[in-house]
């Protein structure tokens, strides 16, 4: 089942790359991918928890427990659902492409396939490899179909993410070698059991923690490794910005929850520099993500930069949930990965649609779009409300959990302080998002806007599915948290 789920986008992408078909193939593939995801979701027995739908090959190399194996648990299911929903919206919201349209669509599908593979892989090596696979079409799409200084941006992103991947690789190797030789494996399920035995001494946990946090951190745009993100999303074609910020970026967080949290929990309490523990270090960095990047976002005067920086900012909240290292905070972090992915994808979808119509996302040139394109305006408003953490949307439920996690018994004074400071970020995000909404959608209609046409046809459903899913998860978060709980409890064991 999972193999089929993975093969659908890959095979369609290859067909498109070879010149067969057209966009409707991509649309069909995205729909099938989502349908299969829902099928797997419905087949997953939540009461049992753990990995299900497992398939595994024989070891690929002698002497290494490395197999091509797939499987899903609650966490990967949630991210798979995110991938499916965003992929459908991304394909439908793709702009009209003049040159090499099939190459474009195929590459978009490959990003989705890579992300899905990373979440499906039950083997650490393939988890890593699928993410790398997804990055290659990302660079290609930015460099070839991007806007603005696309070549420079593509190069910058390449360097950043390549460095990140190398640091990450070093961290993975370091962690692998820290595990006693007899127990070494690439299998995530086995690794989970190994981690639960707490075999790595506390002091030995610090170095892999630093390497992995830095490596994953670069991919997640953790301060100070964030400066690639906003220009990349501004330059990237709409579906790429949606898929990368919404889905692919979550890989780093996924990796931290899969590997850092279970294997290196002691590291959080170990000093890294003077009295400063690893947790303090992480809190310092994530506060920069929230407060400092929040301020940077306020200063932006282009819609895509506002969204791009806001996405960097919100990663701070996920990190806060992780840094609290308890079930409440981690549940919030995971639900926020899902929620943020949907809301930021919807925001980029609408901003891309505006760029397609206006050619620019400068605030000076925009205004009154709510009169011209009411459907897009409503979708953007819903995504904005979600993104600033309004109750009803799952972003609120997630952030609330993150804050409660930061205040749970046993939280250090700095963690509590950081939580209160992070809470101020909720004010900051309302400032920039409402300001951006007003600049683009409210006020008198500009003359250019009078000629725009609103979104129509099936694209309306593809886009609306994102905020509707957020509302659903916001009203009934417990349903989703039930899927996450066994995974997170195992990781915290």
């Amino acid at each position: 089942m999972l193999t089929t789920l993975l093969l659908v986008p890959i095979v369609t992408a290859i067909a498109l790359l070879l010149g067969f078909g057209n966009r409707s193939w991509a649309k069909a593939s995205a729909l099938v991918q989502l349908a299969l995801t829902l099928f797997v979701w419905s087949g997953y027995d939540q009461t049992l928890g753990g990995y299900q739908f497992v398939s595994a090959s024989e070891p690929l190399f002698a002497g290494l427990d490395l197999r091509f194996s797939l499987g899903v648990d609650g966490l990967s299911l949630l991210l798979l659902l995110l991938t499916g929903l965003v992929t459908v919206a991304a394909v439908w919201m793709s702009p009209k492409i003049e040159k090499r349209a099939n190459l474009f669509d195929g590459s978009v599908l490959l990003i989705s396939a890579g992300a899905a593979g990373a979440f499906l892989a039950k083997d650490a090596f393939f988890m890593y490899a699928f993410h790398e696979l997804a990055l290659i079409p990302t660079f290609l799409l930015i460099g070839y179909w991007g806007s603005g200084e696309r070549q420079n941006v593509a190069w910058k992103v390449t360097i950043f993410l390549a460095v990140g991947s190398i640091v990450l690789l070093a961290g993975l190797v370091d962690l692998y070698l820290a595990i006693p030789a007899a127990l070494r494996s690439f299998d995530l399920q086995k690794l989970q059991e190994v981690a639960a035995q707490h075999l790595i001494p506390a002091t030995a946990q610090v170095r892999p923690w630093l390497l992995l946090t830095a490596g994953f951190g670069i991919l997640i745009s953790l301060f100070p490794f964030h400066s690639w993100a906003a220009p990349a999303y501004a330059s990237a074609p709409t579906p790429v910005a949606m898929l990368h910020s919404g889905v692919l970026k979550k890989f780093g967080l996924y990796g931290i929850i899969r590997l850092v949290v279970p294997f290196l929990p002691e590291a959080f309490k170990q000093p890294v520099w003077g009295n400063c523990t690893a947790q303090d270090l992480l809190l310092g960095l994530l506060l920069c993500n929230i407060l400092y990047i929040g301020l940077v976002t306020i200063a932006q005067r282009k819609l895509d930069y506002v969204i791009g920086y806001s996405s960097v900012m919100h990663m701070g909240y996920v990190f806060l949930g992780i840094a609290s290292m308890n079930l409440i905070g981690l549940s919030g972090a995971c639900l926020l990965m899902f929620s943020h992915g949907l809301s930021v994808a919807a925001l980029f979808a609408v901003s891309g649609a505006i760029r397609e119509r206006e050619g620019s996302l400068n605030f000076e040139r925009l205004g009154g779009a709510a009169k011209a394109v009411p459907y897009l305006a409503i979708c953007f408003a819903l995504a904005t409300f979600a993104s600033i953490g309004l109750p009803g949307f799952s972003n609120f439920a997630s952030e609330t959990l993150v804050f409660f996690g930061g205040f749970q018994n046993g939280a250090s004074t700095f963690l509590k302080t950081a939580t209160i400071l992070a809470l101020w970020g909720v004010v900051i995000s309302a400032v920039y998002m409402l300001r951006a909404y007003k600049a683009v959608f409210l006020g008198e209609k500009t003359t250019a806007a009078a000629k725009w046409t609103d979104l129509d046809g099936s694209a309306r459903f593809a886009l609306a599915a994102l905020p509707l899913a957020l509302l659903l998860a916001g009203f009934f978060p417990q349903y989703f948290l039930g899927y996450l709980k066994p995974t997170l409890e195992a990781a915290l064991r």
């Binding site: 390449t158 993975l172 200063a299 809470l423 417990q478």
Partner: protein, 621 residues
């Protein structure tokens, strides 16, 4: 029984959802849905009141992560809830009916009624909430529906700005509110009202923490009930349609802060310091806003400052340990202030969107029904003896009297000013000669009473403004047995007569209150009768003490400047130096790759491949 509160809560939600999803194309259908929802809620409230005075509670799980955190959406109906339910659904229904005429020609009518339903849902959620987290959820939702309704005419720059200002100012208060919730949860391990109350000992053991938590929670009320220093959003919120101002920005939403303080009074009562701060903020708001109101020319803005001032009275009452009096004033104020706003709306509607009182004049002849009801509302607000406001304001003044002269005399002065600015409004707008731009003659169309859907709600509210003070509707809340620790000065009694507990000098206070009414009314009458323009100009009051200007400077000097500096740092230091530093390290690789005629993608694939080889080598050794 248990389904009634759920019916009250969910019927407006159903209406809002239907309008958003499909009914918005048909204005008639949207109006029908919205009306049906509010009438259902009102009917269910009446049924609930008829069913007796027992406490009803039921809840569903929202988030459950084991014993550490179990958040529920739970409804609790007790005496306090019932009073608020009646106010919210009753006035809500009248405002809905009124709006069908007032917004008849509006092209965004469906959106208006959809937002109104969303508001009803959110507000009723606050009223019915049984836990801190749930009240916070609906607190924020009320904020967004207020945002939507203030910005209803969003093509107007000023309306869009006012909507943002209201939302953001409230968010600042909510930051404190959420911090307070976290502090309370960390100390007591609970968020449900009852559970927190049972665990109060854990909070009272640490008085400093208790005061901090109480003040944080109070921040939420400061934002929502527009108390100094977060009061600036409410006058600007008058950009919204007038029925919205009546329902949301006078009668219900802004009263939510007071309701929350009353609901959580058990948490504030053990902290004398927190109570004093609350009383002080309330008194300052009451006085400052009353001073500002004396020099406004826009009919809605005068009423807005008046609302601020009256909310100040209510908050002060909480601080003076008289939550019963605060709720009593909330109850009466809701009727006469909604009446005054709807009356102002009738005037604005009749005069084709004229809002300047100096351009009105003589309306008592052209709009007799509006005049009559507006006059009753004014008398009720200014504390004319035996009307609703007299009793409730008296109760608050008495509480302040017992708290100390520093609290009593500013409130008494505010009462004088209330009579003054309201009489000024009525004298200028309704008496005298009709305004004419050229200075003589009568304009052809100088106002007319609205149709029945507008005047009937006015008449109903006028009747309520007369009789609400006698407490036919309310049952005892904050009786002695409820709070042993907090000695509530004034309580509702079943008979509806105020019952003073433990209050010396009873006679002096009402006498002074009557004196304040007479002084303010006569003063304004003598000063403004027959005048065509304002004989007094006090720029400090007219310009609201320049607080908005000071805030604009503060925001420009702090937030905007910090934002620009951060942007610069990010662009030139982090990206410029740090990133180019890293890029410099890898430049060698990049250069080598370019020599090999490899582009980005291939280069990346190369690095990736090399990585895999190195990995396999390392792991195999």
């Amino acid at each position: 029984m248990e389904f009634l509160p759920w019916l009250i809560l969910l019927s407006p939600l159903a209406s809002a959802a239907c309008i958003l999803l499909f009914a918005h194309r048909s204005k008639a259908l949207s109006v029908t849905l919205s009306l049906a929802a509010v009438l259902t809620a009102f009917g269910a409230t009446v049924a609930l009141l008829a069913a007796g005075s027992q406490t009803v509670a039921s809840s569903v799980t929202w988030i459950n992560l084991g014993p550490a955190l179990h958040l529920t959406i739970g409804l609790k109906v007790d005496a306090l809830t019932r009073v608020m339910l009646l106010v919210v659904t009753g006035i809500g229904a009248l405002v809905h009916i009124y709006s069908t005429v007032y917004m008849a020609e509006d092209e965004g009518k469906s959106r208006f009624f959809g937002s109104l339903s969303l508001f009803m849902f959110s507000m009723l959620g606050i009223v019915l909430a049984d836990s801190l987290t749930m009240i916070f959820i609906f607190w924020e939702l009320v904020g967004v529906s207020s945002f939507l309704l203030i910005g209803h005419w969003f093509t107007k720059e000023s309306a869009a700005k006012a909507a943002n200002k209201a939302f953001l100012t409230n968010r600042i208060g909510d930051f404190g509110f959420m911090s307070g919730i976290l502090l309370v949860w960390a100390a007591t391990g609970a968020v449900g009202f009852d559970a927190v109350q049972q665990n109060m000992a854990k909070l009272t053991a640490n008085p400093a923490l208790l005061t901090l938590a109480a003040l944080c929670l109070f921040c939420g009320a400061v934002g929502k009930s527009a108390q100094v220093p977060l009061h600036v959003w409410l006058p600007d919120a008058m950009e919204g349609p007038t029925p919205v101002s009546a329902l949301i920005h006078a009668a219900t939403m802004v009263a939510a802060g007071v309701y929350m303080l009353a609901r959580l009074f058990f948490l504030f009562a053990p902290s004398p310091d927190a109570l004093t701060v609350i009383a002080a903020i309330g008194v300052v708001t009451a006085l400052l806003a009353a001073l500002m109101a004396t020099q406004q020319d826009d009919i809605k803005r005068i009423l807005a400052y008046s609302t601020l001032s009256q909310l100040g009275f209510m908050v002060a009452a909480i601080g003076c340990q008289a939550p019963g009096s605060a709720m009593f004033h909330l109850f009466t104020h809701a009727f006469f202030k909604a009446l005054l706003f709807l009356g102002a709306g009738a005037v604005i509607h009749g005069l084709h969107h004229e809002q300047n009182i100096w351009k009105m004049g003589g309306l008592r002849k052209t709009m007799p029904k509006t005049f009559l009801t507006f006059a009753i509302g004014t008398l009720a607000l200014t504390g004319a003896p035996f009307l609703a406001g007299f009793f409730s304001k008296d109760a608050i003044l008495l509480a302040a009297y017992n708290k100390g002269p520093l609290f009593f005399f500013p409130l008494l002065l505010s009462a004088v000013l209330t009579a003054f600015y309201m009489t000024r409004l009525v004298v200028v707008a309704f008496f005298g000669e009709a305004y004419h731009p050229t200075g003589h003659g009568h304009s052809k169309d100088h106002g007319h009473d609205g149709p029945a859907a507008m005047t009937v709600p006015l008449l109903i509210l006028a009747a309520l403004s007369v009789i609400a003070g006698y407490g036919f509707f309310a049952e005892p809340i904050f009786g002695h047995d409820l709070f042993h620790t907090a000695h509530s000065l004034a309580t509702f009694s079943a008979a509806g007569v105020l019952e003073y507990v433990d209050a010396p000098h009873v006679a002096l206070v009402p006498m002074l209150a009557v004196g304040a009414f007479v002084l303010g009314t006569l003063g304004a009458w003598m000063l403004y009768s027959g005048k065509a323009k304002d004989p007094v100009r006090i720029p400090l009051f007219a310009n609201r003490f320049y607080i908005d200007e000071a805030y604009a400077a503060l925001i420009a000097g702090s937030q905007e400047m910090l934002a620009s500096v951060s942007d610069w740092v990010d662009r030139y230091l982090i990206d410029g130096v740090l990133v180019r530093g890293i890029a410099g390290l890898t430049w060698g690789t990049g250069y080598a790759l370019r020599l090999l005629q490899l582009g980005n993608i291939q280069g990346y694939a190369f690095i990736f491949g090399a990585g895999v080889v190195v990995l396999l080598f390392l792991l195999n050794k």
